[in-house]
Structures are given as C-alpha cells and as structure tokens.
Symmetry: C2
Subunit: 611 residues, 2 copies
C-alpha cells in the first residue's frame, strides 16, 4: 500500500522525528538502504549543490547542507530505478523552487481537489505533524525548497498569520526546516488598515514604518522565512492602484521592509480588467500582463521577483507562452505553473503535465527566468494529491524546477518505477505512454485548438460553450454561424505584437501558426482548410470523437494495470476514469452540438451529433 507515500513507496515508512538538519535527514534516508555505502562529505559553501564521486570501491557524496540531501535522494532514486548517477557538480537551475498553496484559514483550499488543507482548519493553524513531515519529505525528495502556505487571496482573516498566529506558523516552519524547505506567507497589501493606519499607500512613511516593524516581528519569529507573496490589484484584491501608485512602488516598498532579513517579495503579475464589457472588442485580456509590467521593466528592487503565469490567460489546457516572460529583461522573473488541475480535469481526469512544460520550455529559454513557482495540488486526502497519478505532476514539477531540460518521458517513467515497484517494464511503459498522451486526450475532448474557456463558469469542470462568453472576465470565443476565435494578429487586437520577432511572425500568419494554437491567434471560418486538408469544423468534430475514444482506450490500458496496483490506488483510479469517460462524452457531445447548430455542417464520417 503506497497510496499515502506516493513515490517514496520503498522508503522507510517514517523518519525519526528528532532530525534537525538536512544532513541528518540524508543520513537517515540512506540508512534504510544499507546496500548503498556512500560517504557524505559536507562542504558548506556548496549550499544546494552536490557531486557524486566514485573512487575505486569508495563512493563519495560531496555537497552543501541541502545539497547532500538532494544528492542522497537522487542516489536512492537512481538505485531504485536502475539509473546511473550523473557526473560532475549538480546545481539547480533555479535557486527558488516554490510551491504556492491556495489554502484558506477555514481549511478550504481554493481550487483544491485533494481534500482540505494540511495546515489550517476552522480559522486556526492545525495539522498532523506526521503528515507534515511526510509532505516535507516528498517535496524535498524532488528538490522543492520553498512553500507559501496560504492563499494568494488573503481572505477569511488569514492576515492573522502575520499577527497573532505567527507563533503557530513558526512551529510549522520548524517541521519543514530539516528538509531544507523555507516557508513564505501571502500578504494582504491592505494590512496597515487593520492596524489603525488610514492608508496603505506605499509612499506613505507611516506605511513604510509599519511594514518595517511588521517584518522585524515576523522574522524574529521565523528567521529563515523566505519572504512574502503578493496578489495586488487583481480580481478585487487591494493594491497600489488604490493610491495612484505603480506596482513597482508597491513591491519595492515591501522589498525594502524585508531586505534586512534577507527576505524577498514575490509579486504576482496576474493583473487584468475583470470587469470588461463583452461588447468591447478592443481590450484583449491576454495583453494585460505585458501592458502592465513592461513599462516597469527595470524599476523593481533586486529582491523583488515578478511571478508570471506560463500563459497569458489563466492555466488553460493550451496557451502560448506569456509574452511578458519573454519580453522583460531587467526584472527578476518567476514562471508560475498550476499543478492543481483547475481547468485540466480537477484530479478526476488524467492530465499529466510534464509534456506541457517541455513544450513551454521550447518557446521559453529556461535561462529567461530566474525562479519557478507552481500552485500546489495536495491536501488532506489519503493519497495527498487526490488521484494517485496526479503525483507525477508534483514530482515532475520538482524535477523540472531543478532541471528544466529534464525530459517528460524520463520524469514520468522514473516516477512510475519509484511509485509502483511491482510494475513490470511493460506495465511501466504502458503507464508512461498513457500519461505522456493524457494532456492531448484531454485537450481533444474539451476545447479545440486553444480556443479556451468553454468551461462551466466558476466551477471550471465540464463543458459550457457560452459559459464565459457574456461575462466580465475577458474570456470570449465569439463563435458565430461562420467562424470562431479572435483575431489577435497585428490586424486584430495586436496581441501578437507583444512577442519577439520570430514568434510574432510565426503566430501572425495562420499558415505558420502551430495548429494547436490556431484559435488562440486567429479567427477562422468553419470551412477553412487545415494543413492536412480537413476543414476546421471537421477537425473540431474529429478531435472530439477521437478524444472520447482515446479515453476508452486509456481505460482499457488501466484495466490491464489494475492487478499491479495497490488496492487503494486501483479503487481511486478506476472510479475516476469512469467519471472521466462520462466527462469526455459530455464534452464531445456538447461541443459538437454547439458547433453543429452554429455551422449547420455535418460530420463527413456520419458519427452521431445530437440536434
């Protein structure tokens, strides 16, 4: 039974809870594998780095305090998955490898699909220390080193985490510390107003004093706190705009308050007009981040990191890389991914993300960013991430955060080998192939060709072709009887102009635009002919029919694997694939019917489209 241990299934069930440092954890982990007789050599200045060296029979792991822990995990994983250890000094690509937990103080996780919060309940900090240690171990084992524990929407009185609940946060931080994981806190930009100030204006000296004093209090309680995450002026959150200030003014003010303690400010760039009139065809939401932040490029302090979502919309199934990530050259940037499957199946439907990240890093040179973040997908469910296979996204995120060049197939295969030791090589290949293809399957039966937003509003699970069409969220498909999509070229909203030349030219022309992004950039007639000779409408129908059939095929593969799965995993997997199939059928029929009613064009293969 490994349901609640995920890829650590063959590790010692628990670690002694007296361990104080990553080095002690490394020793304890290795002790469970006596066949590995490696010597650890601490070299403080190596920090997170490590190197594995073999000298005749003698095996040596050199590294910094955290480096040795990462090296130890890599050594054990390599051993368990029969891989060779890499040569030379190993360094993470990104020093800050964050997870953002959208956990509320009530215990409810915003967009959480794995149960309630592991950290909070009923307005208090509340946790099971054993589960926290299990989580910390999982995260450390794949190299994650920073955890923001509360929702970026600081609601339900979560300001208290920086006030009277600070000692509780400190106790929690102590549980993560031996695993080399530092905490962060999401902060309410309007916090000064809760403390008797009449303003939160970042240029007001009283506000600056407030934050300096508050930071001192906070770092006194948690000396290794990594910093604050801030969602400001976004979806009704308070921010500098209230006071006529820029986001650089706001971020820098906080940055100066936390700098004496080595803290950083992670400033989220998810700012757009969420009150857009659907009649307005000039405003184009994907343009928002670039328009807001490009003029500030270079204006942020050194300890500010601008955190930008991977795509310009909001974690849709398929989006181009955000042009803000490509365009800003004088700002520390973090890319934000989303592990919790808000728009991607909610841990019911299979959606394995490493292939998507591989695609992102094709367009985004990994060195363009200096940090990486992801919205966490775990909770109090027994299997921690809701669906046993959703663990590959957590594990995989850690892997690409350390090395963005890691290949999706390698990540998934290794995760599978570690998680299911009973698997044959053939079974492992089957599951790996299935997961590698799962995003494409999900994409096929949901929203075609990067059209986006055909989901049930608010819930974001299940089809609703016009669900977001007449809302204030800036999320339109403008489908009519002849065509669908928005022209975002230089002749349309001009979004494409935000890209560097090569991508701009690629996306500008429907002939060169990658087909999987076609409807993101172009308005296309249903009778337009695609590269392979099919019309757009036929492509939409084909994708949806195929997507459903491929879910059926996935279920067949899973059925072959059930005998090899632990019973609890089997139960979860089989129940959820049944739901996924029903979901895929619903998407297929609703989207096909929607376009059939609009276009009046029949499926050339005469499959059933409902009237």
């Amino acid at each position: 039974m490994n349901t609640d241990r995920l890829w650590l299934s063959r590790f010692a069930p628990t670690l002694p809870d007296i361990l104080k440092t990553p080095l002690e954890v490394a020793h304890a982990e290795l002790a469970a594998f006596p066949e590995l007789s490696v010597e650890l050599c601490l070299q403080e200045d190596m920090h997170e780095q490590w190197a594995f060296e073999k000298n005749g029979n003698r095996e040596l792991l050199r590294g910094g305090m955290q480096g040795l822990l990462y090296g130890a995990y890599t050594l054990i994983f390599s051993h368990l998955s029969h891989q060779t250890m890499p040569d030379g000094i190993q360094s993470p690509a990104y020093p800050l490898r964050m997870l953002n937990c959208w956990d509320n103080l009530s215990g409810r996780i915003e967009r959480g699909y794995a149960g309630r919060s592991l950290f909070f309940e009923d307005g208090s900090v509340s946790y099971d220390p054993d589960r926290i240690r299990t989580l910390a171990r999982l995260l450390a084992s794949c190299g994650i080193n920073t955890l923001c524990i509360n929702n970026v929407n600081v609601v339900e009185n979560a300001q208290r985490l920086m006030e009277d609940l600070l000692p509780d946060v400190a106790s929690l931080a102590a549980l993560f510390r031996p695993f080399g994981i530092r905490l962060m806190l999401s902060c309410d930009f309007a916090l000064p107003l809760r403390h008797g100030l009449s303003t939160a204006d970042p240029l007001d000296s009283q506000v600056q004093d407030f934050w300096r004093d508050r930071a001192a209090l906070i770092w006194e309680a948690i000396p290794d706190l990594a910093g604050f995450v801030v969602k400001a002026d976004s979806e009704h959150r308070p921010g500098p705009f209230t006071y006529g200030r820029t986001h650089a003014d706001g971020a820098n003010m906080l940055a100066r308050a936390v700098k004496p303690f080595g803290g950083i400010i992670v400033w989220r760039a998810f700012v757009y007009n969420c009150q857009q009139d659907w009649r307005d065809t000039v405003t184009d939401r994907p343009k928002a981040a670039y328009e807001t932040y490009m003029p500030l490029d270079g204006a942020f302090d050194d300890n500010v990191i601008l955190q930008i979502k991977n795509g310009p919309y909001d974690f849709q199934v398929r989006e181009p890389v955000s042009p803000a990530l490509l365009g800003m050259h004088h700002t520390h940037l973090a890319m934000e991914l989303q592990l919790t499957q808000e728009y991607t199946g909610q841990q019911i439907d299979l959606f394995s993300m490493p292939p998507m990240w591989e695609e992102i890093f094709c367009d985004l040179p990994p060195e363009r960013i200096g940090s990486i973040a992801a919205v966490a997908n775990f909770g109090r469910d027994r299997c921690i991430v809701g669906h046993p296979f959703a663990a590959v996204n957590l594990y995989g995120y850690g892997r690409i955060a350390w090395d963005p060049h890691a290949r999706a197939e390698d990540i998934i295969r290794t995760w599978c080998t570690l998680t299911y030791p009973s698997f044959t090589l053939d079974a492992c290949t089957k599951l790996t192939d299935l997961l590698l293809g799962s995003r494409r399957v999900y994409e096929k039966y949901t929203s075609p060709l990067a059209l986006c937003w055909m989901v049930v509003p608010a819930i974001h699970y299940g089809p609703s072709p016009l669900g977001y069409e007449f809302t204030p969220w800036g999320t339109f498909n403008r489908a009519d009887r002849d065509a669908v999509g928005i022209d975002r070229t230089s002749k349309g909203t001009g979004y494409v102009l935000q890209y560097p030349k090569a991508l701009r030219e690629l996306y500008e022309d429907p002939k060169t635009c990658p087909e999987y992004l076609l409807l993101f950039f172009h308005r296309v007639r249903y009778d337009a002919v695609m590269k392979d000779g099919r019309t757009l409408i036929q492509r939409i129908y084909d994708d949806h029919f195929e997507g459903y059939e491929e879910v059926e095929a996935m279920e067949n593969v899973l059925q072959e694997l059930y005998p090899l799965l632990p019973p609890e995993d089997r139960e979860l997997v089989s129940a959820r694939i049944a739901l996924q199939k029903a979901n895929a059928r619903e998407w297929r029929d609703v989207v096909n019917t929607f376009f059939h009613r609009l276009s009046g064009m029949d499926d050339l293969k005469h499959r059933k489209i409902y009237d």
Copy 2:
C-alpha cells in the same frame, strides 16, 4: 414614511397587543376611523363571510368571526379609496388562501429577495413580535388566511419544527391567530428515519403509527394548525417513490394521520426528471405533472390538496396554464403562484403580477381549483417585500385569492391609492399604468415569445442564452442557425395533447397559437413571418430594443413621481430602476447578439447589435 407599513400607511401605527380574536382586531382597526360608525354583528355560522348593510343612517356589518375582520378592512379600504361597498354576502372564492414561505431555519430564505427570514435565525425560531403582528395585519387585510412558515425543501434541520421546536412554533401561531391566520408546516417525508424507524414507506404500519402519534403531538401544541405541505420525490427530496409507492399512497397516509385534527395535506405536484439527458428529445419536462398525477385522479383522500404550479415549467415570465390544472376532475386542486420574483426580476426589476394572473384565469376557469397558494415575497427588509412596489403582488394576491375575477387594473389602482395617499389622481394613474405594463416590458427585454430559461443558472437573474441548454433540468431552447424552440404539438413531443380540445386545437396550429406563447409550443424558423408581417428574428430584435427603451420610459415616469414618494421609497425605487436599466441593456444585447450570431440576419432598422 410608510416604507414598512405598505398599504396600511393610513392605519393606526400599531394595534394593542392584547387583542385575542379577529373580532377584537376588527373593532380596533375601525376605532381608528371614527368617521366610520358601523355596527358589527357577529354571526358565527358565517365564518369568513360578511355583508355590509345600510339602513337609513345606520350601517351594519354582519359576518362570522373572520368575516367581520375582512369586512372591516374592506370598509376602511373603500373609505380610503373612495369606492362603494359591494352589495350582498361576500364569500371568498377559495377557503384556503395560502402563502408558502421558503424560509430556512438558518434565517436564509430560498429565493428570497427581501432580506432574511422574519421567523428564523441561526437554527432557531426567532422573531420580533411587533414585526410579526405587522405582517399578520398586512396579510389579514387582504384576506390571506394560511401561512406555511418553513421551506418546502426541509433542510438545515428544519424537521425540528415538528420536534423540539414545536413550542416555539406554537408561540408564533399565537401571534397570527387574532388575525385569522393559521399556520402550516412543511414536512420531511423521511421524518420517521430520524426517529429510529428503518423506513418511511407509507404502507408500513409502523410508519403510519409514527405519523399518527406525531400528528397528535403537533396538534396538541397547535390545535388550529392547518396541516402539512409536502414536497416529495422532487429535486432530490425523499418521497414514496423510494419505496415503490404512488404519491396517492404517500399523501393519503399523511392525510389519515392528520384527519382526526381537521388537518389537511397540501401535496406539491412539482415532480419531474431533474436528471434528464439533454440529448433526450422525447422526454419533455412540461409534460411531467400531468403524466405523474392524471393516473391518480380520484385516488387522493378528501383532505389532500394537490398543489400545482400555474405553468407546467417553473414560474417563468410566460407559460401556458398547466394542463394538470385543467385535466384533473376528481382531485382537490390548488394553484401555486410565485410572488417572490425568482425569474421575474428578483424585486429589482419591476414586475407586477396581477395582469399575469388575469391572463391565467382567462384559460383556467376559477372554479376548476378549490384552493390557491403563492410563494411569499417578504422578509426582514425594512420595506418587507424588498421593493416598495413589489407590495402590489402581495396585496394583489390576497385580492385574487378572495376573488379571482378581480381586475388587475382595479387591484393596482387601489393598492396605489392606499399606499401613497399623497398621490394625485394623475400620479396614481401613471403608476398604475406603469405597473400594469411592467411584466410586458420585462418579457420584452428578457426571453422572447415564451422561450423561457435563458437565465443565468442557479442565480436566475441576468441573461445566459445557453445557460440551461446542456443541463439535466429539462430546460432547452434548441436554438440553431435556422430555427429555435421545441415542437410540442401532436407531431412533436405531444405536450399539447394534454390540453382540453379547445386549447389543444388553439395551440397545435402556429397560426392560431397566441404569439406570446409561440415558442413554447412550436419550433419556428427565424425567417418565418408573424401575424403582423415581421419575421421571427425581427420580432426578437424589436422586442429587445423596445423593452430597453420602455425601461427608460418607466424611469422617466418614476422621476416624475419621486417628489410624491416617501424618501425611503424614493431611494429604493430610484436605485433599483437604475439596476433594472442595466439589466435590460444586458439582456437586450446578449439575446440579440446570440440570435444574430446564430441567424446571421441583420436588424432591418439598423440598430446596434454587437458582434
């Protein structure tokens, strides 16, 4: 200031709280109008009846205990509105003139738009006795005599009203009693399961015993309780179907339990498949009530009343009369109306209902039903019904419950005269005309030609053309690029066959079908020509443009009236008409755009339709 007194604005502000009987209330009310020197003559056997007699200078009101109260109110109202008293014995058309409050024990009112519950808060019976007396007086003044105080969905532990909270219900009943108002309780059909029984099967003798004992307990506490309201097997509520029994089995079992106490069972006929697959074009939700209950016609006990909504759907802006109301000849029937404006503007948009009821009673001979019920529209808001003008629906309902032949114009004008004594005749006419036309205006800018259900799901305010299209609720418009609507004729779903011959023939043929019901009964091409020569699509566009313009015109009329309104009414009315205008604009543009995108047909008058 009459905001919280509504049409009793010229009555004595309060009544002494020592009054015990309707006769005492009648005397007290008349005492405030010394210019009315009428003698009251109690004739117990007249019950609710009354007669006004003039003998020279001597004026006499004869009547039963309640009759005298109704007569007194009528006399005062006639006096205040300068109308003559009717001749002869006055009897109510329906002995049971009910209101259903959808109040939950938490204090939240389901579909309530006038604040929280007047009866409950935070899991308890909780009220301000003065406000209860004000409410009772308002209801008695227009002839309402029965009040079901809790939601038909017995949730949030409301079963306790029949358990430990019974003494509190009894205290509340005592406040209503002097006004001739009896309470009812909504009951949970599965109540026996809360008391240790393993079944709620109506044919099980233990269940029958349970209910008999429970009824005895309840009537011991409240000897004049009118009975129970039951929503069974509807929208996930428990019911006889669970045990393979009919609704006659279920209703009769309860009826026999309450019969010894003179109690009645009001059984709601709102039963349909709320899990319908949208792909299923055979099942047709409007057919449900007739299909479920016609086979049971004659099978219900004498003290069972089948309560059927006025239309076959669910309180839409425009529906034909439910064929179940027309077809059942051997069952006691109540028609259920909805005062709370769930689909009709939520007490923001003006929607005065008496004209709608007048229309209903054109197709439904008043004597076809024996009772009448309405979902209440009041709550804890200062003005009780949310919008000062929504009071006309509460007052008007009482009037038609007493006399279904009452004319809408007379009702509205009288209400206006009573409510706003400062109004000139001209102002009164203006407001009367505005309210008389308000439903037609609302209909024009919302959903055309009885198409129904183009609302935002769950919330039911604001447009969403496909919001209910792919849901399990049986609520479809099946709009495609050529046509819209469902063929419910004999060649379609056959719904029309549920009607008596005359209506059946009328509705069967699109040429004779009233145009305002056209899309309820027929699937119609956008280019079909209507009676006045316009195409359907042009009619849709015209209605929506006109509807918005008519809201603007209403606002102009209201602005003329503002100086005559009490300041609090003025504030509410002016704020809400502004919201209504925004709502009308949104409906106009969303619906027009939706149909324009589908049909590709332009507005012949070249008004702006957004792409």
